[in-house]
Symmetry: C2
């Protein structure tokens, strides 16, 4: 049985390591590198999903190559990343917050939140990876913790201070740049035989 | 512990129910309906991934709407469908075979096969759903069974007779049209407490 983290005043695991000077890569690039690292080292199989679009027109300039000439972005109904780690389905969304000092809930679509709750209901692990660019800090926030806070506090954003005290700092390392599976090892999989 | 099906001369479960007259929907539409049904009835959370494309040019005719004017299809590196069911990561590819009497392995890209093997390695469940349109029959083939056969027989296709005897027929029902989770219940999850 895995230890699902529940609401608590102090986090079960808090990684106190300071993040080192970050090279200004964006979160998506860092996560792509991290997922490739996990794949190469046979640690996990987690991928970014393609951008959901509606294709309207396709040209066939040559027999082998098709060129999309009209398409539109769709509102995503699921999250950006999913896969499998240590037998569990992993599902998450990643957001950069710039220089704000709180994470606005409007950054995540309500159906994405509903989707993540549903993943947890079916036995998967769902979370948001948020980077406060101003602080150069990246956190992993379990969807249940976030929803508990939102419901209790009636707020429309997660203040940086709350994130700092209740969420899981992902230390910056060179390889991989965003080692978020370490957080899962130290929380959900804590004490679980590999 | 789940019962992973292994190579065998007779299948652990063979659904002998005859498929009823099918209404000529294509497999992708049937699977979308099926996954929506699973989602609505809170049985599983499985989605088709968006088509992977590379976006080259985007126009912004209005402030709110972006129009993609040049994009190309990518070779998919993963499968088309994934999600979570009964706590396990689910990953599969779906292929229609038309009136052929064997499933050509060339229908699935080698990196998709490698991807599915990797999913199983990490504890997920991976398979191919194949529809022999000519016979109006849809089968679920576990990736391990397929690879075992390919390695042993040195063939480049799966003959219909082999599929019929060794794979799992998905009976056609109206709701849902392709009830593939039933096959998982009767094989991998057989005897596993829900």
């Amino acid at each position: 049985m895995v230890n699902y983290p529940t609401k608590r005043s102090t986090p079960a695991t808090k990684i106190n390591k300071t993040s080192f000077g970050h090279r200004g890569m964006n979160l998506e690039d860092d996560l792509n590198q991290t997922n490739q690292y996990y794949l190469d080292l046979n640690m996990a199989n987690i991928h970014k999903k393609p951008t959901p679009i509606t294709i309207v027109k396709v040209d066939y300039p040559t027999r082998s190559k098709s060129k999309i000439t009209e398409a539109y972005f769709n509102v995503p109904s699921t999250t950006d990343y999913n896969g499998v780690y240590r037998g569990k389905a992993i599902d998450f969304e990643a957001k950069e917050i710039g220089r704000l000092t709180s994470f606005p809930m409007s950054k995540v679509h309500p159906h994405q939140i509903k989707h993540m709750e549903n993943i947890v209901h079916h036995g998967g692990i769902a979370f948001i990876i948020m980077r406060f660019t101003g602080m150069d800090e990246t956190y992993l926030v379990f969807i249940q913790d976030m929803l508990d806070y939102i419901k209790t506090s009636q707020r429309k954003s997660l203040p940086y201070e709350w994130v700092k005290s209740n969420c899981h700092l992902i230390p910056y390392t060179l390889t991989p740049p965003v080692h978020y599976l370490k957080v899962l090892d130290e929380t959900i999989f804590k004490g679980v035989h590999r």
